[in-house]
């Protein structure tokens, strides 16, 4: 096993730019790792070694010729399979898109291509990102590298498991209710959901348009900052993307200062329903922050009680409309119905065959929430809850610079454990959902292992909208304190995967 794959992305960037290693070497090392372990982990739905190596070789040639390159040039990356790529199939984890080759690149994909980052492949996800475990992927679940009988989180379990199993130094995720942060927490990796609009959604196959946000998945806070600095910024193709720059996340990550910082602990996200080991590690981290000069204050967000309910109305409502385009006319699956094949029947048969059970459930739920006679009680009320949650955050941020909570109530659960119980599955997202409803940024960083099962737990930090840099600053500071305490990175505690 090449030692290159264990390095942080920021270390690889230094080695690449100094010419100590070539992009072909780095890329090949990750391709070899995937060949060795992905039959067990199943992070990828599609791998593209040839095009990744071609990009790598091109960058090496340019570097040798002395051309000016982007700092991330030559660093390979894995892309969640709900981002469109013109040179690889994009399925969103659904049978309805099996084999579809998009006619355009997502904006974030265009940006990494322009920077010269080789794309290793497309990572697994719950179908259309609907889920918290990747078990709803139409192509089979990904596994948690810490324990292959457990889920790697979802929906971005492909990206989190790829980064945690050293198949990619960095990856794209997308976060609608925690799909970057929850997988990060349960795999001992770093995941960031930027402020809504900080990163373009153009080319992200929409789940819930007002909640979705693309973000980095990495093993280290500085790595994530490198990627957010590349992909952030206004995109004229996304009308909801922020017009202004949010500053340099890399600089924030290097600042690492928490003196005088007020850290608000959200009362509602640190009690009942949270696993003991999760709470223990969380409280230890608060003490670390305090010892470094931060002030810990308690804040209350009473409307969070309704966050999951509001989320499971808004998300299905928007999704039911976003997923209407999957109709067998312009792309994707077409299924002939039994009997008279009118277009209505072809569409209905296609959608029945192409969508999995969770997707159908949510589409029908969303159709219900929007339909006449029910709109006000369901969708309308949910949108009002959103206002209440924003008010809670506003009040909390009047008392604190960042807020903190465990990222998830539990460590990774067993594959199959919650598959038949949608409500239990939805509860995983209790701590992550409020940030999506309010549009604010959130980060999950490794927070040690739970005593009871030895599995990773995460700590979540939240900041006001547009203040993503605070997350990088505080996250990197806490990460450094942790690594000093542990003597190594948390990911280095992960068991060795059996290599084929």
């Amino acid at each position: 096993m090449s030692e290159l794959i264990r390095k942080n992305a920021s270390e690889l960037v230094d080695l690449l730019s100094s010419g100590e290693v070539s992009s072909v070497e780095v890329t090949q090392a990750h391709i070899d790792r995937t060949a060795a372990v992905d039959s067990a982990v199943h992070s990828y739905l599609h791998v593209s070694p040839e095009s990744a190596l071609a990009t790598a070789a091109e960058i090496d040639r340019k570097r040798a010729a002395g051309e000016k390159l982007h700092p991330l040039a030559g660093l390979p990356i894995a892309v969640k399979d709900n981002l469109t790529t013109t040179d690889a199939p994009t399925t969103a984890g659904s049978k309805i898109l099996e084999g579809w080759i998009p006619q355009y690149d997502a904006t974030v994909v265009r940006k990494i291509r322009e920077a010269g980052m080789p794309i290793l492949g497309k990572t697994n996800l719950d179908e259309f990102a609907m889920g918290s475990s990747t078990e709803f992927s139409a192509y089979g679940p990904s596994k948690n590298p810490w324990d292959l009988t457990r889920i790697p989180g979802g929906s971005g379990g492909g990206s989190s498991s790829a980064v945690a199993s050293f198949q990619a130094p960095i990856a794209f995720g997308s976060d609608t209710g925690g799909s970057i942060r929850f997988p990060a927490a349960v795999t001992g990796t770093v995941g960031i959901k930027p402020t809504y609009g900080a990163v373009s959604r153009y080319g992200l196959i929409a789940l819930a348009s007002s909640l979705d946000q693309v973000g980095p998945v990495s093993r280290n806070v500085l790595d994530a900052a490198l990627l957010q600095d590349l992909i952030g910024g206004h995109d004229p193709h996304d009308s909801t993307s922020l017009p202004e720059s949010l500053g340099s996340m890399v600089e924030a990550a290097k600042r690492q200062d928490v003196k005088g910082l007020r850290v608000g602990v959200i009362k509602e996200l640190n009690g009942e329903g949270f696993q003991a080991g999760v709470k223990a590690r969380f409280n230890e981290s608060l003490r670390l922050l305090e010892a470094a000069g931060a002030e810990i204050v308690e804040v209350s967000c009473p409307s969070f009680e309704y966050a999951i309910a509001a989320y499971y109305l808004i998300l299905p409502a928007e999704a039911s409309s976003n997923l209407a385009k999957f109709d067998s006319v312009r792309f994707g699956l077409r299924k002939a119905p039994d009997g008279n094949p009118t277009i209505e029947r072809v569409m209905a048969a296609t959608r029945e065959a192409g969508f999995g059970p969770e997707v159908k459930r949510r589409i029908i739920l969303g159709t219900y929430a929007l339909s006449s006679g029910y709109y006000d009680a369901y969708y309308g009320s949910a949108q009002k809850v959103r206002t209440l949650i924003q008010r809670d955050f506003a009040a909390a941020f009047a008392k604190a610079d960042v807020l903190a909570s465990p990222t998830a109530p539990t460590t990774a659960f067993k594959l199959g454990e919650k598959l038949e119980d949608p409500l239990a599955m939805y509860l995983n997202d209790i701590a992550t959902i409020p940030a999506n409803l309010a549009g604010i940024p959130g980060i999950s960083i490794p927070n040690g292992l739970a005593d009871e099962d030895g599995l990773p737990v995460g700590i979540q930090l939240l900041a006001p909208a547009r203040e993503d840099s605070r997350l990088y600053q505080v996250g990197a500071a806490l990460e450094t304190m942790h690594e000093e305490q542990w003597g190594k990175r948390m990911i280095d505690f992960a068991p060795e995967l059996e290599v084929r």
């Binding site: 309704y306 994707g332 119905p337 009118t342 072809v346 969508f355 589409i363 029908i364 949910a382 009002k384």
Partner: protein, 98 residues
């Protein structure tokens, strides 16, 4: 509790263009009833004049200038289509009118 009935689920599936068997309708009615009962709590949360939030970050007046940008070629446009003919997307007959 929930107002969800098998007939309503069948109707919603029709609106959403998803073919469902009777068995699926029953299963969905059962599952969705639980979910609906649970999410219906939002109603209780918002008594009074709380405004709705449709966009998490308030913005306005984002426009594109009226300038032509490249389109796809016809071949590119049709490249993902299950069926096409005469430069167009081909679909089964539409029978719901006239």
């Amino acid at each position: 509790m929930s107002e969800l009935t098998p007939d309503l689920v069948r109707h919603l599936a029709g609106l959403a263009r998803i073919l469902v068997t009777d068995e699926e309708v029953n299963r969905l009615t059962e599952q969705l009833s639980l979910i609906v009962d649970s999410v219906a709590t939002v109603n209780a949360a918002v008594a009074g004049d709380v405004p709705a939030t449709s966009h998490p970050i308030p913005m306005a007046n984002v426009f594109r200038e009226d300038v032509v940008e490249p389109s796809l070629t016809q071949a590119e446009a049709l490249s993902g289509a299950p069926e096409s003919a005469e430069g167009r997307f081909k679909v089964a007959a539409i029978l719901d009118e006239e």
